[in-house]
Symmetry: C2
Subunit: 421 residues, 2 copies
Amino acid sequence: MTQEELQNSLLEMGRAARAAGRRLALVPEAQKNRALNAMAEALAARQAEILAANAEDMAAAKAAGLSEAMLDRLLLTPQRVAAMADGLRALVALPDPVGKLDSATTRPNGLEIRRVRVPIGVIAILYESRPNVTVDAAGLCLKAGNATILRGGSESIRSNLALAAAMLDGLRSAGLPETAVQVVPWTERAAVTQLLKLDRYIDLVIPRGGEGLIRAVVENSRIPVIKHYKGVCHVYVDRAADPKMALAIIENAKCQRPGVCNAAEKVLLHREIAAVFAPELAAMFRRRKVEMRGDDAFCALVPDAKPATATDWDEEYLDLVITVAVVDSLGAAVAHIAEHSSGHSEAIVTEDAAAARAFTAQVDSAAVYVNASTRFTDGGEFGMGAEIGISTDRIHARGPMGLEELTTYKYVVQGSGQIRG
Amino acid sequence: MTQEELQNSLLEMGRAARAAGRRLALVPEAQKNRALNAMAEALAARQAEILAANAEDMAAAKAAGLSEAMLDRLLLTPQRVAAMADGLRALVALPDPVGKLDSATTRPNGLEIRRVRVPIGVIAILYESRPNVTVDAAGLCLKAGNATILRGGSESIRSNLALAAAMLDGLRSAGLPETAVQVVPWTERAAVTQLLKLDRYIDLVIPRGGEGLIRAVVENSRIPVIKHYKGVCHVYVDRAADPKMALAIIENAKCQRPGVCNAAEKVLLHREIAAVFAPELAAMFRRRKVEMRGDDAFCALVPDAKPATATDWDEEYLDLVITVAVVDSLGAAVAHIAEHSSGHSEAIVTEDAAAARAFTAQVDSAAVYVNASTRFTDGGEFGMGAEIGISTDRIHARGPMGLEELTTYKYVVQGSGQIRG
């Protein structure tokens, strides 16, 4: 395929997605739900094909020497396919965000201005390895009335195309446009670069993957991007903390699932409690096999902690590693967080209501917790039912992105002949 | 100045803006209002300097052969400086959007989740000629708690720096950080390209100007952009329209201020009323000296209308020119609008409630009107008090962008020791 053919094919895909998006915007909730249920059924009906396609992807990935972790992400099993189908069925129960009234006002001249939610339009999802994203993202976008263009990693292309074929069955049987969900079949890198230029047909790009992928998307995109980025999350133990609560929160935030973005990566201890609390904290970390790194003050209190390097403070380990600093005050904790946080989730543990107020006012992350684990930053835990990711951006959506965040709004203005004077 | 020096200077400007933004986010409304009033006073106090700087810009612009229209946009007069000061004072009366509660829920596990408005952070405004943008934009962003980096056209650099000096006086006297409002003093093009890479320090870019400026910004920016773009606005006259109302609305939408983005550029006439309505419409246009262009059907009814060319349907004239098409149905009008509209503002004139509902549901523009002029798409007319522009994008803000659209949100979560199971 020449560059020009690729460009034209992607343009055609964009046009088809725009046309599908326009139709989806007007489809009633019941029909979208029928499609989601039918897509779930089709995943079950086509399970053998999907697993066979995945087996080919796995064989190629092994031959290419992909890591065990990558292979595990790529692998589909009957259980994993069933979980995708369950995910689609779970969307049926969630309320349709389209048509929701944000606000209504009547102006002195009699104009009635209503702000109502409408789909964003066409959303491109760029992701790596995990084929479940193909189904999860397409389903969420569909429920919110959006068409999707999906571009996974080249290693999962056969799996993704097989999943797309099943979703197509579901769309067809519910009478929805077939181009409402499209998987880019071309695996060359240039396909992504070309896709990111289609600002006429694609309204939003959501990259999901490692830092390299996200940076490349941000640098090359003419289309708005919302990033689902790393989490360098902090737990600050205030001088007025309940030590038992602090210990439980840090253990949960660090150890319950260390490989996710809302896991804690850093702990800040107020100097006044550090001498008493640091040994308890260290005992817990040793028990949970967490590697400890620290600043001079922490290392002085916990001799088996390694001295932190300059890069430790900004690193997302996604592993059983923690870095601990001792700070002189709440203000110093806030300043440290402003310098090093990725703006995802931070927590204070304190019994002092004034300290809690100061922390939540001054720390500017997507989610700021008082006396709770950072692990709660999640669409399901926030009551959104499902999420397409967690935004660490500040524009459009911040924190967990659920169905409502996959919509925009328009103003509908009812007049009776008003003209402007 | 070498490229490297320029880069370092802009980096320093970005860092200073970030630091100022962090402080501004915590400043109480009264102090921001004091700053706005003091900035207004300083504009008056420094009026002579400002006019002198502007006179230098004007002389250079005349020597460079700028058009009369450009010179008029560049010109400052005592009245125009006073209008800027009045604009700042008007912001004092508007409610502070920061701290507003979007929603509050308590989860089954007892977590209290509040979503509260916070400033976006640092906003860069890129604009052309009009020096009043320097003050208007900085004032609006400041009221919403944001630091600004302003980059106007090179032709207005002396005026902009003089205005910035006055604003600095105001910031100082209210005890606000001096880097809360910064004008980029370097006029080379590379300054914009470098600025657009500072995604670590700048959260949002708002370009205001012609299509060339906006396209260049979208192509080069790593920072989210919200576009204040062209308006190709349509008025559709339904078969069930009140002809008198339709005439008044079209006259207002086209002629009241043809040079603005919410002015109508196209009229669509339902075939069933075209024969009767087209001559009345043409008579009004002749009286108002509006040049008429049309499709075959319209030209057949109005012999002095010129045949429209293919590009007419997508063009924003910003002048006393209109293009009229005859359509077979409401559906055809909707399809025409989907193809040619810039997504700004469209109107239907009809007495048929079902037609009105179909039009407002199916037309996906920022503002969709029933029986009212498109000219009402404006922050003031919508009750926002002031606007930084009108977004034709779909992400973050759509339509008029007021103070609330210059904020984002964060989640503040109050727990009592909750951990995730």
